[in-house]
Subunit: 311 residues, 2 copies
């Protein structure tokens, strides 16, 4: 314990301050919301490209989506039942000129102006795979063999303000999505769990796989999490970054027919498809690299540098 | 007129449908919110890199920021006085388990669940330069000569749902920011207006510069706009894309001491800095290229292809 703060928290806070001092992260004043400088961004982008190189033998189709999705889609997805505490909705102004004057008067003295905001048709994207399912479903039945989609490094939102630099409100998920027959989807998920592990090892990260569960909300959530774990629907790759616990830097998720049923994704024979996705947490991977190899990438091991900057 | 729809609107809508059909844009169901496919994304990223090459003799410092900024910063910026109708604030859930059940029950039948959302500490980034000013101010007085910041191609939000594909709710601004002494900042803005025009001409776009004004809200906004235009604070580069009016694809803005005073940006001698910024609307530039040269970049003029893909 350090001044009443658990050791793990003190370690996270001191790592974060070190990142600020070196211009790797830029504080915004809000916990979990940061800018970044040249070095951090170069590592992040290099990692994005590295995943693209590894994924190229999947011949994925590129799709890119904004950090917002239609609110109606979030409502239909089941996300709000499981993770109401993590979701973000976008509100906007629909009032009169008089209302606008009142809004600004309150806002400029940092008083409550929420009554002048109405829920809009858009919400924060909670996971990079969400917009992919309706986009693929809109094309009709899948071709034999299904599809792999490369959804890039997409911004996603989690409402969980924290002083821990590995827990961000807005971060990039490096996402691939597989849609097809149940056996081919599950095999893809398992193969990528192993490939992901090898990829992180090639970057000198002491990553370890584990069965995992999502952070479901409330008392009922504990049972959902136990089921998810016992049925091996979610694997994570864990790395020691800061604090006392290991941090998940990637996840490999088998959804069975959850998203396919919600969006009407069907195979060529008319049966419901299955889906899986994988996501690397780009900022967490950059942080793991900085913590493992030091804050100056110029002094990282040659093998790591070659892997990241060999394109 | 075509079936009661103005010709310009019909042209915009048919261009948008053509973009959907070719997989260049991906509809989401919400006007002004689209995904994109491989070809669109490759052009956009190539344009980002082209601007980086042109900007390299400014020796800019790289900073990257998320699509959200602290709500307190939006409140202090003056944006809500001028553009309350365009701003977006992020709301989230803070309730009990019972509240969560009610939220999901309403949301899953697309009924109003806004009462279960509270204004959070974050808001949508309205322009890519906003997070740059406090980040630079936090370092203390500027060095002689000031600074140029490359803020990348950053996602920004505008609450203006529209069927016109050139009017997006979420889009990328390719942003550079200049902070320094008044004369050097104004000279930089004017030089970049000319460089930006040359850059667009090199891509075969029939761009033209014009004095412009922001879309200030309400009756009072008309006077603000007239002032902005008469004092030449804002220039835009306009291209005919779809519809009957030309579309602004870039803007070059001199803020005098507006942002510097709000954030305490000072020169080495202690006097208040001035600021300017420029932003290319990346999606609009891609649309202008597709409209001008056709939907298949493989068949674009060699000079344009060389300019974009010469890196």
């Amino acid at each position: 314990m350090t001044g009443g703060v658990p050791d793990g928290d003190a370690d996270s806070a001191s790592f974060r301050d070190e990142l600020f001092e070196h211009g790797l992260l830029i504080p915004s004043g809000v916990p979990g919301l940061y800018g970044c400088g040249t070095v951090f961004e170069e590592i992040r982008v290099s990692f994005e490209l590295l995943v693209a190189r590894v994924a190229s033998d999947d011949a994925p189709e590129t799709m890119r989506f904004p950090p917002l999705l239609p609110r109606a889609q979030l409502e239909s997805s089941g996300y709000l039942a499981s993770f109401p505490h993590l979701a973000g909705s976008v509100f906007a102004f629909e009032g009169s000129e008089d209302d606008a004057v009142k809004l600004d008067e309150r806002a400029s003295r940092h008083a409550d102006w929420s009554e002048f905001q109405r829920m809009s048709e858009v919400a924060m994207t909670p996971a990079a795979c969400y917009p992919v399912y309706p986009a693929v479903a809109a094309r009709g039945a899948l071709a034999p063999g299904g599809i792999v989609v490369d959804a890039g490094g997409a911004w996603v939102f989690r409402h969980e303000p924290s002083e821990d630099p590995t827990r961000l409100q807005m971060f990039h998920q490096r996402e691939l999505v597989r849609i097809g027959a149940p056996d081919e989807v599950l095999a893809w998920r398992d193969r990528w769990r192993d490939r992901g592990l090898a990829l992180l090892h090639s970057l000198g990260l002491a990553a370890e796989p584990d069965r995992a569960a999502d952070a479901f909300f409330g008392r009922g959530g504990r049972m959902l999490a136990a089921n998810q774990r016992s049925e091996a629907l979610k694997y994570e790759l864990l790395v020691q970054i800061a604090g006392t616990k290991r941090t998940a830097v990637a996840s490999f998720n088998y959804h069975r027919d959850h998203f396919a049923a919600a969006h009407g994704l069907v195979l060529a024979d008319g049966s419901t498809a299955h889906t899986a996705c994988l996501g690397f947490g780009e900022e967490r991977i950059v942080l793991a690299l900085l913590r493992t190899h030091g804050l100056d990438p110029g002094r990282w091991p040659d093998a790591v540098r070659a892997e990241l900057w060999s394109a």
